[in-house]
């Protein structure tokens, strides 16, 4: 299982409370780090602001997903009701003028396609599912889903240095600072 070759993933520092984590995040952001994240059991109000995270692009994806749903439903109904097998029922013409009666299905498929785009768009944007992650090697890290608050600065950050980043994390109040390594 374990090999001798290891690569540094980054430094993991623990904080005691939401408030400390929030202020730590502000400081890491000010220090100019790029490849880092905070880990918490729940989303923290205002953390995007503290970290300088931009607003998610997901709504754009969902807009186009929804538009695809509307179009699919329209074409499904137009092609089958007008082109393939026109049936005149309910005193409605088998033409485009039956459009109002097609609205419910167009609405439902818009929602359906949007919801699927939300799910798969979310997974694509956050890069999940994945089978493992270097952070799971840390003994303390699983606390993140209970009551742990962590900052992780990754080694691929251009400002990362094995000594400097550690002392920086100590400076901003990080506890139990741990070097997380990735087995290659």
């Amino acid at each position: 299982m374990s090999t001798t070759l290891k690569r540094v993933h980054g430094y993991l520092a623990e904080f005691d409370s939401v408030k400390e984590l929030y202020h730590a995040a502000e400081k890491v952001n000010e220090a100019g780090y790029n490849r880092w994240d905070v880990h918490s059991p729940f989303p923290i109000h205002g953390m995007d602001h503290a970290m300088g995270v931009k607003r998610s692009k997901l709504p754009w994806l969902v807009f186009f997903g929804g538009a695809a749903g509307t179009t699919t439903a329209f074409l499904l109904q137009y092609i089958t009701q007008v082109k393939l097998y026109p049936t005149i029922v309910q005193a409605k013409p088998a033409t485009i003028f039956s459009l109002p009666a097609w609205f419910p299905v167009m609405f439902e498929l818009t929602i359906l396609f949007s919801a699927f785009t939300t799910l798969f768009g979310l997974l694509a944007l956050i890069g999940l599912p994945r089978l493992n992650h270097p952070l799971f090697a840390s003994k303390r890290f699983p606390k993140f889903s209970d009551d742990g608050f962590f900052v992780c600065i990754e080694a691929r950050d251009p400002k990362f240095s094995q000594v400097g980043t550690k002392s920086f994390l100590e400076e901003i109040g990080g506890k139990n600072i741990e070097l997380v390594e990735d087995e290659i």
Binding site: S17, V18, K19, L21, Y22, A25, E30, G32, N34, V38, H39, P41, F42, P43, I44, H45, G46, M47, D48, H49, G52, V53, R55, S56, L58, P59, L76, T80, Q81, L84, T87, V89, Q90, S98, A101, W102, P104, F107, E108, L109, I111, L112, S114, A115, F116, T118, L119, L122, L123, L125, L128, R130, N132, H133, F136, F144, S145, D146, D147, C152
Partner: protein, 493 residues
């Protein structure tokens, strides 16, 4: 931890207005790990004896339901009591009843989310689960009512052997799309909400099959804020999508009736009337399930009297809307001067063969919830359960009145017939309760019944600016506006 609601309201020295402290959503200053332990404990520990006491009969009833459907398939749909002119009876009543119950779950998860009602966090998970299970029960009835259930694929947009397509102008087909979309979107919403909590369960398990399963479904969640940021957007989008969806589903269900020309059905009030009734009945079912569950699993600090009070108020509101709709229906039958419509309502409520059902409906749905004007009734759990049971029964009777008693007295007196349900009707319906309870109990057994992450997020100590403005007593969330949350600094990222 100190600045919580048990502390008295702050009195500013400079004479600024006194601000009332909000009632806390989690009682007794519970910590994060207490919440985790308490909710995960339900899944990790042995189930109480009562769980088995409910589970075994539920499984038996599910078996009975399966038997009834097998009997129906092997004999024919005539084993149910419907005969002309009552072609829709218990089956469609049950369908509308179950689908309506689901609506409270979506209301709690979507509409209360958009309106920032933080108390929803303690009840949304269970309510959403209830939605899914109720929709599963609902779907069975129309599927078997088609008669030859092996032809049920005709509902899907696939041409038949003569290349004829479905009639997309029919409300029955709209219903197929509405209900299946509703179910799918509810599953997605529920699942996205579950991901962080599955990660919690994963992190608490010892290595083994359980950890592997929870881990697989948690998708490798690490709780990073760069993930939470997208996650919260996704959650909000789904809430915004589900809100019109839930309103559309029961509207479309009501179109099944309203677009026909049957007197008593052909009314424009149906969509809002059905939606209000669905939310009403659904909340009663949420309380019916949650009041015993909070007691059995010791969740009183998380599902507090305030939560129950809020839900009771929603029942009061929607019950009153339903009462208004009943009265308005009657008034319009009189005022509209359509003698068929008027006759239908006279037969329904005054001197028809099934007026008893109308009286049950009216007293259970309109009078019983009025007790919730009294604070004591909203805070006494037995009283709340009593009203909820009335509403559960009343909402079934409402659909029975609308569907069966209307058809009993159709336009032509020559074809009038009094409807009687057979034992198969009754036992099948009872069986779906077993099926519903079985699924709900399995949910309690294997998944976190309360959204752990969301509840932690509404604790006072979860606010990073908790003590920044202690002098006014105003909660920080009031001061932090939307822009603060969503406009990013341009430093990097």
């Amino acid at each position: 931890m100190e600045a919580t609601a048990t502390a008295p309201a702050h009195t500013p020295a400079d004479g600024a207005p006194r601000v009332l402290e909000r009632e806390p959503l989690v009682l007794n200053n519970r910590s994060y790990s207490w919440i985790t332990n308490r909710i995960c404990g339900i899944v990790e520990n042995k189930q109480p004896g009562l769980w088995w006491l409910l589970f075994v009969p539920s499984v038996i009833l599910t078996g009975v339901m399966v038997f009834c459907f097998v009997y129906l398939i092997s004999t024919g749909v005539g084993v149910w009591g419907q005969k002309q002119p009552v072609a829709w009876a218990w089956d469609i009543t049950n369908f509308v009843f179950w689908i309506g119950i689901g609506h409270a779950g979506t209301l709690i998860s979507a509409i209360l989310f958009l309106t920032r009602q933080k108390w929803r966090t303690s009840v949304n998970r269970a309510a959403e689960a209830m939605t899914l299970f109720a929709v599963m029960c609902a779907g069975l009835f129309p599927a078997f009512h088609v008669g030859r259930v092996w032809m049920v694929w005709f509902l899907a947009p696939i041409p038949n052997a003569n290349a004829i397509w479905q009639n997309f102008k029919s409300p029955l087909l709209w219903d197929v799309f509405a209900v299946s979309t509703y179910f799918t979107v509810s599953v997605i919403f529920w699942y996205i909400g579950l991901i962080p909590d599955l990660a919690t369960l994963r992190d608490r398990c010892k290595p083994g099959l359980k950890k592997m399963l929870y881990g697989t479904f948690a998708l490798g969640w690490r709780g990073g804020n760069r993930h939470w940021s997208h996650y919260e957007t996704a959650y909000m989008l789904l809430a915004a999508l589900s809100t019109p969806l839930v309103l559309s589903v029961h509207s479309v269900v009501s179109f099944d009736f309203a677009t026909s020309v049957v007197p008593g059905w052909h009314t424009t009030i149906f969509p809002p009337y059905f939606v209000a009734g669905a939310i009403f009945g659904g909340f009663a079912m949420v309380l019916t399930l949650m009041i015993p569950a909070r007691k059995i699993y010791g969740l009183q600090d998380l599902i507090t009297p305030k939560h129950i009070d809020n839900m009771a108020k929603i029942i009061l509101l929607t019950g009153t809307i339903v009462g208004y709709a009943y009265s308005m229906e009657f008034f319009m039958a009189y005022y509209g001067a359509n003698k068929f419509e008027l006759q239908t309502f006279q037969l329904r409520g005054l001197y028809g063969p099934s007026t008893w059902a109308y009286y049950f409906m009216f007293s259970f749905n309109v009078f019983a919830p009025q007790l919730f004007w009294i604070r004591w009734c909203r805070h006494n759990m037995w009283m709340v359960m009593f009203v909820c049971m009335c509403v559960n029964a009343g909402m079934w009777f409402e659909r029975y009145v609308i569907i069966a008693t209307t058809l009993e007295r159709h336009l032509t007196p020559g074809s009038w017939r009094t409807y009687e349900a057979t034992w198969v009707d009754k036992v099948t319906f009872l069986g779906t309760f077993g099926f519903f309870m079985m699924l709900f109990l399995l949910f309690l057994r294997f998944l976190p019944v309360i959204a752990i992450g969301e509840v932690k997020g509404v604790l006072p100590q979860s606010n990073p600016h908790q003590d920044d403005h202690p002098e006014t007593g105003i909660q920080e969330e009031d001061l932090m506006d939307y822009a603060d949350r969503h406009v990013a600094k341009t430093v990097n990222a």
